[in-house]
């Protein structure tokens, strides 16, 4: 079965977006243009919140190493703790920590929305768009607050 959806704009001009490529020929008359290049499709707001969720997840996966390193050092000894504190006063370290924690907070907010949607709330097209806007607004607020707290 096709695991995708059709976006129909004016008649005879539509793009088929699919996960996997085995069903494009069946779904669309082969004479019609098929557009599978995400870079050329105007994405809805829900697509942006979704891709940001993925990007923030990858950033966090890499960031685990930095967080574990800092935690290791801060717990190993009193000098290590002081070193981590000292390091966190530099603008570069503050920026890195702010970036990492921003990814964490965005991922958290977008993840909570997923759990809410799993309960059946906000699953319609309109609900999905509204949910995406709420995610962007809430995460922007907490990320700004985080910046204020760090600096």
């Amino acid at each position: 079965m096709c695991d995708g959806y059709l976006t129909s704009a004016p008649p005879y001009n539509f793009a088929l977006i699919v996960r996997g490529s085995q069903c494009d020929k069946k779904a669309v008359n082969s004479q019609r243009p098929v557009n599978l290049d995400l870079r050329t499709i105007k994405l809805p707001i829900t697509a942006y919140t979704s891709i940001l969720h993925r990007i923030s997840g990858v950033i966090l996966f890499v960031g685990i190493a930095i967080l574990l390193y800092g935690l290791d050092k801060s717990l190993a000894s009193e000098e290590g703790f002081a070193q981590v504190q000292e390091c966190l006063t530099s603008p570069l370290a503050k920026f890195v920590i702010w970036g990492l924690l921003s990814a964490l907070l965005y991922h958290l907010v977008a993840g909570v929305r997923h759990l809410i949607m799993d309960m059946g709330i906000g699953e319609t097209l309109e609900g999905g768009k509204l949910g995406s806007k709420i995610v962007l607004v809430v995460s922007t607020i907490v990320i700004v607050l985080l910046g204020v707290w760090i600096w």
Binding site: Q22, I64, L71, L108
Partner: protein, 122 residues
């Protein structure tokens, strides 16, 4: 078409559930730790060390490490099967994807062991 022999549990539904359950554990840990740091502005080494020496905290931390391992694997697997496909990479897609997933698995295992050393070794 990407087959799913490499996913966490060989069941999409189980992976879906594992991702959600681990997410709740991770959220609880993150909120607790952020709350602790925000509520203790002049945090010193003794308090910091004391928090992580507490047995309940050690159990919570280890639970979070397990949840993190599961969550990261499901997430990185999902991303690799969505983007590292024959459509994007041609005939080498399976090799590239396998190597990427192997690297993620090794990295996550290293993070897990390192985490255990930090939480239970110090």
């Amino acid at each position: 078409m990407v087959t799913n022999v490499t996913n966490f549990s060989r069941s999409g539904l189980y992976d879906w559930m594992a991702q959600r359950v681990s997410a709740v554990v991770l959220a609880a840990y993150v909120l607790f730790l952020l709350g602790f740091v925000v509520c203790n502005p002049g945090l010193g080494y003794a308090e910091w060390k004391g928090l992580f020496s507490n047995n309940a905290m050690r159990i919570f931390s280890l639970l979070t490490l397990v949840a993190l391992s599961v969550h990261a694997w499901v997430g990185m697997w999902t991303i690799s099967t969505d983007y590292l496909t024959p459509m994007a990479l041609g005939k080498w897609a399976t090799t590239v994807r396998f190597l990427f997933q192997a690297a993620c698995g090794v990295a996550m295992f290293a993070f897990f062991v390192w985490g255990v050393q930090i939480f239970w070794g110090n």
